[in-house]
């Protein structure tokens, strides 16, 4: 499913890289530990987290993730947005908690 469709379906706010929402999302990874994402997320995953530090962009770039979705109304730091635009990594935001977002994404994409 296109990231753009997910943005529409879940009413997500696009914080960075508005022009990069056409990628096909096949998986989602939910974690607030960057080292865990480095170890376990898969290429192309959409990453759900509440961390807004600029390092999330570096982690997403290194793992070639499709985007980062901040839950619980968390706002990314300005530096994070700047880096995300530079790296063309979409940053999305939602007021929903991770459990609800994960459930909705699971229903949209279907679990494995």
């Amino acid at each position: 499913m296109e990231l753009k469709t997910i943005v529409e379906q879940l009413d997500l706010e696009v914080k960075a890289s508005q022009g990069n929402l056409t990628c096909n999302i096949t998986g989602v990874y939910v974690s607030d530990l960057l080292s865990d994402v480095l170890a376990h997320a898969k290429e192309g995953d959409l990453w759900v987290t509440l961390q807004g530090h600029p390092n999330i962009v570096a982690v997403a770039a290194m793992k070639e993730l499709s985007g980062i979705l901040l839950n619980n109304g968390r706002t990314p730091e300005d530096e994070t947005l700047k880096k995300a635009n530079d790296e063309a990594i979409p940053i999305l935001a939602s007021k929903m908690p991770a459990f609800v977002l994960a459930g909705k994404l699971y229903n949209l994409l279907g679990g494995e």
Binding site: L33, S35, L38, Q51, G52, H53, N55, A58, A61, M62
Partner: protein, 246 residues
């Protein structure tokens, strides 16, 4: 006794997220220019540039302490500050043994190892931005075993601070101090973190580029700019103390 300024959290070009301008000479000149008497070099999970900065500060009035900013498995940053480079090196060996992964320069940045005069001797290829698999308790214990001071880094920041990651400071965690960033004053911090008043508070720049050096400083009333005097000031021993009034 005299009043000195300490900035005990400065990165060098070894940290992937720091600017390459953070060379030993650049840092020493920058610190002296800001009226700082004592600094600590705390790169992410490595102390490989500490000796170079110590050497660069020889013949100047600046005291340089070797240190490291260690990342726990909870992704909490803990400053470890030592008196002797040998102790920092032993702590580094423990950190390296517990740190997996290889750096990706394009994603995280370069990790440049330099000599005192700025000559590049190589690049560290470990994933220094990564987390060790050591718990907070393990790290604090190890720092003390190597005669260092363990300070919870930038507790006021949402990312990688102990309060942001855990939400609280465990009762049995034997920290020597809490560090706040340049974002808040020591006075505001003593109010905001009054429940943790048992811990002394230090303020540092966490400088990743030259202009940031000294943006956060801790004024200390001490006999000299040294590790031992700083330790005494943290404990309020023999008339040494942190000058919260600035």
């Amino acid at each position: 006794m005299r009043l000195i300024n300490a900035d005990l959290h400065i990165h060098t070009c070894l940290s992937p997220c720091a600017e390459l301008e953070m060379s030993p000479m650049g840092i020493v000149k920058g610190a002296i220019g800001k009226g700082i008497d004592m600094i600590a070099i705390c790169d992410h999970n490595s102390a490989e540039n500490t000796r170079a900065v110590i050497e660069a500060a020889e013949q100047t009035g600046l005291t340089v302490l070797p240190g490291m900013e260690v990342t726990s498995k909870e992704e909490v940053h803990i400053l470890s500050i030592f008196s002797l480079p040998e102790d920092a090196a032993r702590m580094q060996e423990l950190v390296y043994n517990n740190l997996e992964g290889v750096n990706d320069e394009s994603a995280f940045g370069m990790q440049v190892i330099v000599e005192a005069d700025g000559t590049v001797t190589g690049c560290n290829d470990r994933l220094l931005i990564g987390a060790t698999d050591m718990s907070l308790e393990h790290i604090v214990r190890a720092i003390h075993m190597h005669h260092g001071l363990a300070i919870a880094a930038h507790i006021d920041r949402p990312g990688f601070g102990i309060l942001g990651q855990l939400g609280f400071i465990p009762n049995d965690l034997d920290l020597d101090a809490l560090e706040i960033s340049a974002r808040i004053s020591i006075e505001d911090a003593t109010t905001s973190y009054s429940e943790y008043s048992a811990y002394p508070i230090v303020r540092s720049s966490d400088a990743h580029f030259l202009d940031a050096i000294g943006s956060g400083m801790t004024p200390l009333m001490v006999g000299a700019a040294s590790f031992t005097e700083f330790q005494m000031a943290l404990r309020g021993e023999q008339g040494r103390y942190i000058c919260y009034e600035g």
